[in-house]
């Protein structure tokens, strides 16, 4: 009898412990009331060193601890931040920035022009994946304490936007020589990283910087960024109320997430479809023929692909420029309406009535459905797609280049100039055959050096030309979904994987 009593007492203690834990552990709602944001993220911080910083999914880490020289609104408009004013010389090869004078780094060092100049040069010379953002930076010098002059090798239409991203992150110069630079950031941002509470790779704890120069941008006392690299774990964390805001694991789980009381904030960040790399026909002569590329575009039933692959979340498109671009033209999205007959005619006119074989890479990352559907739809017009799975070497092999065409999900950058230099220009990473077309080069030159009106018109013409010449075969822009609970609000950021940190705030 006594043993049973003792057992019951132990069980009661455990039960009370667990009950106590529920209260102590805290639901997201109580955390919000005490101004804690639990943010679910899908990648850990690669580094906190501003010179080598990543962006996109890692932008919340950087924006917590660092300020950028300039700041972007949700629609991409460039606004003042550390720099209050800026001006170019006549040929846009010199940018002069005027800085705030009331900013201090968390180590007590005062922000000055020399600190900004040093940071910009370090980013240019660092190993950030986006270091090309400052490729045109020849030099950066302090004119006086609050004035920085950037000298460029050539004008850069995207420079101001780049300074709102990782290229504009400013770190305390005193921290440059710190051994723990990659894991212990010293910036002037709205929060500081609590290295004692942080488990690198798993959860990062940020505490409010009480001396921050712009208190209106600080919405929480504490931000905990929890890394969920497994989509199931992320979904369980959302459904279990362990996060206030998070990247949505995938579009399959949106209904479940909504049923848990969460709201979806969505935007369109990427485009999904084919990059017909070998436009010169050096690896696969058929792709050198514009009629074949056009036939490929006619072969896809894009609404069906969106429904099957993207679960209907997104927008069908045939152009790689996003709606936020001055070059976007909605009418281009029906340029190649699904028409197998027309596609076969074009194949015959190009001399490929009997079809041809197209070698492409596959990747488990995208699932199997897109590759099967692609294979089926191209088979209809006589093209036999043969896949090779390069495994972890997918991107290196694609950019080597080892394939004449690929299926991919690619980002639509916040500026046209960034997009052009990422996917179109002769030296663009995603133009691995470095294919050149004199007409395209002409458009690019006008976009680079022309007046605002000429540049905008050239972007439009370039987009129309690329669609007509079928450089790509886009299918749709998948919706990028961000999840917030009932106490949290967020605004989607044009051209970024997640909302900017200051745009995630308590609803009240």
């Amino acid at each position: 009898m006594f043993r049973w009593k003792r057992l019951t007492a132990v069980a009661a203690v455990v039960a009370l412990g667990l009950t106590g834990c529920s209260a102590a552990g805290g639901d997201s709602s109580s955390d919000t009331a005490s101004q804690t944001l639990n943010l679910g993220v899908i990648v850990p911080a690669t580094t906190f060193s501003a010179a080598d910083a990543n962006w996109a999914n890692e932008s919340p880490y950087m924006q917590a601890v660092y300020d950028t020289v300039l700041k972007a609104d949700p629609d991409g408009t460039v606004e003042p931040n550390l720099a209050t004013k800026w001006s170019y010389n006549s040929d846009k090869t010199e940018l002069t920035l005027t800085l705030r004078t009331d900013v201090k780094f968390t180590d007590g060092t005062k922000l000055d022009a020399d600190a900004v100049a040093q940071n910009l040069l370090r980013f240019r010379d660092g190993v950030s994946p986006n270091k090309s953002l400052l490729a045109s930076l020849k030099d950066a010098t302090a004119v006086d304490d609050k004035t920085v002059k950037l000298t460029l090798t050539d004008s850069d239409p995207a420079l101001l936007t780049s300074l709102t991203q990782n290229a504009g992150l400013i770190e305390s110069p005193k921290a440059f020589s710190n051994k723990d630079l990659k894991t212990n950031p010293v910036g002037s941002g709205p929060y500081t990283l609590d290295t004692k509470k942080t488990v690198v790779g798993t959860s990062y704890v940020f505490e409010k910087n009480t001396k921050y120069w712009n208190p209106s941008a600080v919405h929480y006392g504490t931000i905990v960024m929890k890394v969920y690299q497994d989509p199931t774990a992320m979904l369980n964390a959302i459904k279990g109320g362990q996060v206030n805001a998070a990247n949505t694991p995938n579009n399959n789980s949106i209904d479940e997430i909504k049923a848990s009381g969460f709201t979806i904030v969505n935007g369109e960040l990427n485009w999904e479809g084919l990059l017909l790399f070998d436009r010169g026909g050096t690896m696969n002569p058929a792709l050198g023929n514009v009629k074949v590329r056009q036939a490929i575009n006619y072969a896809f039933d894009r609404p069906a692909l969106l429904k099957t692959i993207g679960q209907g979340y997104g927008t069908v498109t045939e152009q790689i420029f996003p709606p936020s671009s001055v070059g976007f033209d909605k009418s281009l999205d029906t340029h190649y309406t699904y028409d197998v007959k027309k596609a076969k005619e074009l194949m015959a006119e190009a001399g490929y009535a009997d079809g041809f074989t197209l070698n492409m890479p596959s990747s488990a990352f995208f699932g199997t459905a897109p590759f099967s559907l692609l294979q089926q739809q191209l088979k209809e017009i006589g093209i036999t797609v043969k896949y090779t799975d390069p495994g972890n070497n997918f991107i290196p092999d694609v950019l080597a280049p080892k394939y004449p065409a690929i299926l991919m999900v690619l980002q639509q950058d916040p500026t046209d100039w960034q997009l052009i230099n990422f996917q179109i220009a002769p030296k663009a990473s995603w133009n691995p055959f470095h294919y050149e077309d004199p007409k395209v080069n002409e458009f690019i030159d006008t976009i680079h050096h022309g007046s605002k009106a000429d540049s905008d018109a050239a972007v439009k013409d370039l987009n129309a030309y690329l669609v007509d010449q079928a450089w790509f075969a886009p299918w749709f822009r998948p919706a990028s979904n961000f999840t917030v609970d009932g106490n949290t609000a967020a605004v989607f950021q044009t051209g970024n994987a997640v909302p900017y940190l200051w745009n995630i705030k308590p609803k009240s």
């Binding site: 834990c21 690198v200 798993t202 369980n236 972890n392 991107i395 950019l399 980002q411």
Partner: protein, 313 residues
Amino acid sequence: MIKFIVRRLISGAVLLFLISTISYVLLYLGGGDIARRILGQTATAQTVADKAHVLGLDRPLFVQYSDWLSHALSGNLGESWFTGQPVTIAITSRVAVTLSLVLGATLLTAVISIALGVWAAVRRGWVDRVVQFISVLGFAVPGFLIALGLVIVFALNLRWFKPTGYVNLTDSFPGWLATVTLPVIALAVGGIAGVAQQVRGSVIDALRQDYVRTLRSRGLSQNRVVFKHVLRNAGGPALAVLSLQFVGLLGGAVIVEQIFAIPGLGQVAVTATSQGDIPLVMGLVLATAIIVVIVNLVIDLLQGWLNPKVRLS
């Protein structure tokens, strides 16, 4: 005894060297373009080449390995290529998490499987059949399915436990209990099935021995016979299975830590291996190998303590 321990430690060191060499070569051969993987799809070819140079990936395999080995021998395992964190810190901050799961699961396995095994062996009949059925079921159902089922029922529906995350024991005992209970159960189920069968078989064998009949004829109670004498004799094989189970659980923790987003060695092993983070993977290989060597040594010593017949000279 000391001679035995020294001999085992020396063979452990040789094992560590061999494992580290093979692992490094395999990682190098299967690594692909690690610099590109670190920098992602936006980086230019030149940026990727710069990164490869900074990491020393443009050097021959032998030079890279000997460089890593010489640093490792001086206790410097380098930094993670993906997070910049020193490897020793990345491992030491996570090893306690994984060990708390694995030790908890081993303890749970030992207690439940001994109870079930002894119950089945002593009672036989329907009890035996039920225990055997449970064992087969435990073997058949994959650990990750059990983990997902536990999360859905006890964390998301009943809200008794946390679906993800980990709270340190030193920070909050109830918090720790709420975060480790489900993962420990998920890890233990497969083990219980195996060890319970082993205990059952060993106890049945032991119960048939002459000394048991003698003990009974002297008027000793059933409980005393079973728990003081039979179990001690039957414990050897069960302990061997349990030690294998412990090593297996280190592997099982990989899946469970992913599902429960627990910051342990398993979770980081999955990430580091898929990324090609050679310094971190090598650190993890060493840490795991050291744990396995130590566990095997301890089990050998325990076997000797349990059964004088196998006591070491």
